[in-house]
Symmetry: C2
Subunit: 396 residues, 2 copies
């Protein structure tokens, strides 16, 4: 029995643009928070201009801004600031991803907002964070991927460092920011006080390096990219079947033995170059050659069926079309079709957090710029004529 969504009643004023910040407010909105996206009247979120477009609407923007209302508001104008500060009075969260210092310059830094509403949670997602020598610099996803080390671990050994093909610099920062906000909301339940949540994209890249830092500390060597195999669990790798690539993940001794049996090479299970994970990892070059020769003889589909029956984890490598047509992905409602008033039907990822009693829902498409300005300002008591006047002046 579903009554209300998990975050229903939480009100978020979202000043963010493009990706890291909008990802936060999307996750919060999916789980039931009320998100008011505050955009400059002059063009709004930059990503409204990122192609490709459908009927002039950016699919980039539409993918990331569902479940939000749009208020156009010029925060550089006195009237705009005043309206914003009134809204802060009964909001729970203010979210921004400006370069550090920008909100203070506008007179809207955390200290100001806290004075207006001591319960406010002020969440700042930035490239380098609100402290430290790089604080005031601009960063983008590619920059923090480069500076944070993940590119040095991705790609072929001794090849060019490789960018991760989704903007995980932004997205992981968005996820950590969301966790910070929810933790601060939880704490506020005890203390009655809000606080500032400061999350840096670069910090998040360091946080997701897994054990690479600890491995460096062991031997003083920066870990290298290991191509398509796991650096320390073997075999966990990609092989070429006769019609494409296949992943085999037989990364413990029992699975390794099963694999040898499944391919009719029982002698390998006894081969003392390969009996433990450590040996298999050390002797990877020889193992890769042997496994590669075996796998090259049959097709991806034949091997998948064969390994599935033998209980050996294996998988194909999907392109985006194969992902969204996969029965498991469809069954989990991870592909959502939605009607947009201008673009028509659009397709986007679903909600990966499945809550049994208060599941998230996707209720409204991404807003047009300022679509909810009249509604929101009327709710604050502004007359329609006054709103029109502000619109003419570029304030809303």
């Amino acid at each position: 029995m579903v009554t209300e969504k998990a975050l229903q009643g939480i009100k978020v004023l979202d000043l963010t643009r493009v990706l890291a910040g909008p990802y936060v407010s999307m996750v919060l909105g999916d789980l039931g928070a009320e998100v008011i996206k505050i955009e400059t009247p002059q063009g709004g979120d930059d990503s409204r201009g990122y192609g490709p477009f459908i009927n002039g609407e950016s699919v980039y923007f539409m993918s990331l801004n569902r479940n939000k209302k749009s208020l156009s508001l010029n925060l550089k104008s006195e009237e705009g600031k005043e309206i914003f500060l009134r809204m802060v009075q009964d909001a729970d969260v203010v979210l921004e991803n400006y370069r550090p210092g920008t909100m203070e310059k506008l007179g809207l830094g955390y200290e100001e907002l806290e004075r207006v509403n001591p319960k406010i949670i002020y969440a700042a997602s930035s490239g380098f964070g609100h402290t430290g020598p790089y604080s005031k610099r601009a960063a983008y996803d590619l920059i923090v991927q480069g500076m944070g080390g993940i590119m040095s671990l991705t790609g072929e050994p001794d090849g060019t460092p490789t960018r991760v093909g989704a903007s995980i610099g932004d997205i992981t920062s968005g996820l950590f920011t969301t966790i910070g906000i929810l933790s601060a909301i939880h704490k506020r339940g005890d203390t009655g006080k809000g606080q500032k949540v400061d999350v840096a994209m670069l910090d998040c890249q360091v946080a997701i390096l897994e054990n690479a830092i600890a491995r460096y500390a062991v031997d003083g060597q920066s870990p290298k990219a290991t191509g398509n195999r796991h650096p320390s669990i073997t075999p966990f790798a990609v092989f070429k079947a006769n019609n494409g690539h296949i992943i085999v993940a037989a990364g413990n001794d029992a699975l390794w033995k099963k694999w040898c049996q499944a391919v009719g090479r029982e002698e390998l299970a006894e081969d003392n170059r390969f009996t433990t994970n450590a040996l298999r990892t050390d002797n990877w070059d020889e193992l890769e050659t042997i496994m590669g020769e075996v796998i090259a003889h049959r097709s991806v589909e034949e091997w998948l069926q064969h390994f599935d029956q033998a209980g050996i984890p294996a998988s194909p490598i999907h392109n985006v079309e194969q992902v969204i047509k996969h029965p498991q992905v469809i069954s989990r409602e991870m592909v959502v079709h939605q009607q947009h008033p201008v673009a028509g039907e659009i397709v986007m990822p679903g909600i990966p957090i499945k809550l049994s009693k208060t599941p998230g829902t996707i209720d409204r498409p991404a807003p047009l710029l300022g679509q909810h300005t009249l509604e929101i300002l009327s709710g604050l008591g502004f007359e329609e004529a006054v709103i029109e006047e502000m619109r003419a002046k570029g304030i809303v």
Copy 2:
């Protein structure tokens, strides 16, 4: 003034192994939750066996299990189950990453636990989720990276699909699970009832594809890997300077003009192949050649200084050593040195969520297997002799 940590008072019973689950409980523990890691007396968490080791202790395990206590407990024994169920009575969260169905087989599924404690939040992190045709299959990071599409977007166009060099299949799933838990805790404040949080690694891979699904929907073509450039923002790419790689992120018209001026090629700013982002993206091959020729003449360091003065975002590509020695990373306390009772000094990532009033802290190193068994069972009222007897029987 710091009083208490944000999640202080939240008690987590953590049954998870290896990465996705332990990452959740690490984040919760960093922010102040009490995490009791429950491990099999026979070896404990599998990742205790993953190399490299320092004095026999796994750095993989130590990197992911700080701020946790370890209770060794055999959940297959009646006594073990009974102890676990007693602990569930006053816990807030049970976290598991078994293959779906395993907890039910143990008689410890969500329905059982809810009967014991209706307020319990039951969080399950699995490969494919607790529903759908693939639910019961095993998955690992590499498998969901392959099935979820990100490998098809990573690497050179028309090259081999490329694994992301950190286990982001596990880690993003861990982050979404953490968000689900905190949302369920928030909701419980209103309803007094817990719920089940079901997060699948594969779903999370779909959720981080950014706008790739929407782009597919526009033209029916699966987006291809684009090497080291952003697929739709240009120039956002890696270039070769005369002594290494450099990233340039001049992805809007103003920055593009600045770049042309900074390198003394003002005529490019007027070149009608490159005047808008869309044109620069369409004419990338020509642009890459031109920019590459310019950048090839000087060193990474020279260009970084030059671009920095010109206000153009640019960065080097760091290896792990360069990451942990970077002044911004150090200033943000993103590299933490900790004493471990057996391994001595170890190094690990810090906490990327900076809360102004209740910051997270790293208080204790990863536990030895069963290090807190006596303490925890004594707290439940067991006599030391009884605990020793259970230890002899392999129950704890």
